[in-house]
């Protein structure tokens, strides 16, 4: 097993198996993964900060078994920031907080290709910072159908004076975030709202949208997964890699980009590879910044 030591922020980190190909169909080693996260760190860190991390580890690459790890591994270095959560069953759990580059690199050395975080911070696990509409195409539907749904959703949200931000899932879908960033927000409220929106869209566009999880409703339609608005759920973080054939990133899009892709019927524009992600983030900065800062209130009819 190869080993090398890097020094980041005054911490010495041993890195292992750097030459291991983690995306064998494409050719992308652990060294490439670490390099991607190092370069994307300036934009991803604020989205991971203070949120309990769920690791999704692929120790032998994307073609082999993976596992989720909600607990912060016991062999973590002493300096690593953690939080103690109390789970629904009353049992305590220590989680990793990825607040700096050294933690991000330590986590990636565990081959956690994907980084998943909840909609709430560790100190306020019952307070969602945003609402998410997880647009998931069923069999026979694609990302362009999701783009149509996202654009309709955006129009509906604007009627309610709510700004939304969209990112690719890095797989086949899109994630639309509506920032709230208010202490009084509750998951009860965000779930009720997102479900009502999903139901109304389904009624108006029955051939395009479903609000129901069951497979038979999802064929050829986009499932608006409102149930992600829950304290126990996590979403893949913006700028996280996804495990798949290629190192594709969950990447933010401007509404203009989404409209253009939708008009041209060009799904490739909605798939952002690692290198393009680094380039675009370097050029335009963090398109998802306002998800963390914009304060909005859900209107009560």
């Amino acid at each position: 097993m190869s080993r090398s030591i890097v020094e980041i922020g005054g911490r010495r980190l041993p890195l292992t198996n750097l030459e291991k190909d983690l995306y064998p169909p494409y050719g992308f080693t652990k060294a490439h993964v670490l390099d991607y996260y190092r370069r994307i760190a300036p934009v991803i860190l604020s989205h991971l900060k203070d949120r309990p991390l769920t690791l999704k580890r692929y120790p032998d690459g994307v073609e082999k078994d993976y596992f989720f790890e909600k607990r912060c591994p016991g062999h973590r270095p002493a300096w690593l920031k953690t939080a103690d959560l109390v789970r629904d069953g009353g049992e305590r759990m220590t989680v990793c907080l990825v607040n700096d580059l050294e933690t991000l690199i330590w986590v990636e050395n565990l081959a956690s290709l994907e980084l998943h975080v909840p909609l709430a911070k560790a100190v306020s696990p019952k307070t969602p910072d945003s609402i998410v509409f997880d647009l998931d195409p069923g069999e026979g539907a694609n990302v362009l159908d999701c783009a149509r749904v996202a654009l309709i959703l955006r129009g509906l949200l604007l009627e309610w004076r709510l700004a939304g931000f969209v990112k690719t899932s890095g797989r086949k879908g899109l994630h639309l975030y509506v920032p709230l960033n208010r202490k009084e927000a509750t998951f009860d409220e965000t779930k009720r709202f997102s479900k009502a929106v999903a139901v109304v869209l389904e009624k108006n566009y029955p051939d395009l949208v479903t609000s129901r999880m069951a497979k038979e409703f999802r064929k050829g339609r986009v499932f608006i997964n409102w149930s992600q608005n829950d304290a126990s759920k996590t979403m893949v973080s913006v700028y996280s890699l996804r495990a798949g054939e290629k190192p594709v990133v969950s990447f933010p899009l401007s509404w203009r980009e989404l409209e253009n892709a939708s008009e041209r019927g060009d799904p490739d524009k909605l798939r952002v590879l690692h290198s393009e992600a680094v380039r675009r983030a370097g050029k335009s900065g963090d398109l998802f910044r306002q998800v963390l800062t914009k304060k909005q209130r859900l209107p009560h009819p």
Partner: protein
């Protein structure tokens, strides 16, 4: 017939490699039941319980142990387990041919069919036909579900079937069962032979059926006619679409949005 493939790859023999899918050959006809909570008819789930701490243990807290004595185990990690698991097979490579009649049926484990995939139909037909004509079965080693199996591939009515075989070490010796006893009378032997001859028939699988399964299904049909099924309470958040006023307000916005277009 749409069948769910369990595995896909190629079957190869000398210079031919045929793309195939492995599908189930048996659909167990078992009628299965779910355990419900008698109070509200919710389907019950299994949880892991630690008798020492008297609490339910979450999946992250569970590790694997190999028992060597009461309360004494060796720990085995996922990585260690994986390190001894064979690589998944991509081909079923027939190394030799045998006469299947030489194989004691006690070695037969589980049957599957091999279905040709696009582009492999012609080569598949050729192999199936030749194997059927010669009456031979191919032997191969094949990894399925992280286990390496010895398999026999045979052909019947133009279809290739695959049977996983038990390893010799898994078959318990019959020798231990051999009954002791004195001489057997030739007259008795002859009489028994005659009895057997009198009852000879052809094996007709259609003539037999699982009687209990049929009775159970009849019973369920009868129940369906008599009264509606019991229902579990709706899952949380599933029961309603949402507050009527919120839905109405959203619907109003939606109408406005559509008109503006």
């Amino acid at each position: 017939m749409a069948m769910q493939g369990i595995w896909s790859g190629t079957i190869s023999f000398s210079l031919v490699a045929i793309p195939v899918q492995l599908v189930r050959a048996i659909e167990p006809g078992r009628v299965s039941f779910r355990m419900l909570h008698s109070a509200d008819y919710s389907p019950l789930r299994r949880k892991m319980f630690c008798p020492e701490e008297e609490r339910i243990v979450s999946p992250e807290e569970i590790v694997r142990g190999y028992e060597i004595g009461p309360g004494r185990h060796f720990l085995i990690t996922d990585e260690e387990l994986e390190s001894v698991s064979p690589e998944r097979s991509r081909t079923i490579e027939i190394s030799e041919f045998i006469d299947l009649r030489e194989v004691d049926p006690i070695y037969y484990d589980h049957p599957y069919y091999l279905v040709p995939e696009k582009g492999g139909e012609k080569a598949y037909r050729l192999l199936a036909e030749v194997m059927e004509r010669t009456g031979k079965a191919g032997l191969a080693r094949f990894v399925l579900d992280e286990r390496e199996h010895l398999v026999a591939v045979r052909s019947a009515e133009g279809v290739l079937a695959l049977i996983t075989l038990h390893y010799a070490g898994e078959v318990l010796p019959a020798g231990d069962i051999l009954a002791a006893g004195g001489q057997i009378d030739a007259l008795e032997k002859g009489r028994m032979k005659k009895e057997i001859k009198k009852r000879m028939s052809r094996f007709d699988p259609d003539a037999y059926a699982d009687g209990r399964r049929k009775s159970l299904l009849d019973l369920l049909k009868k129940k369906a006619k008599e009264r509606p099924p019991v229902e579990a309470p709706a899952a949380e958040g599933e029961e309603t679409e949402g507050p009527a006023d919120l839905i109405a307000a959203l619907q109003k916005s939606m109408r406005k949005l559509k008109e503006d277009r």
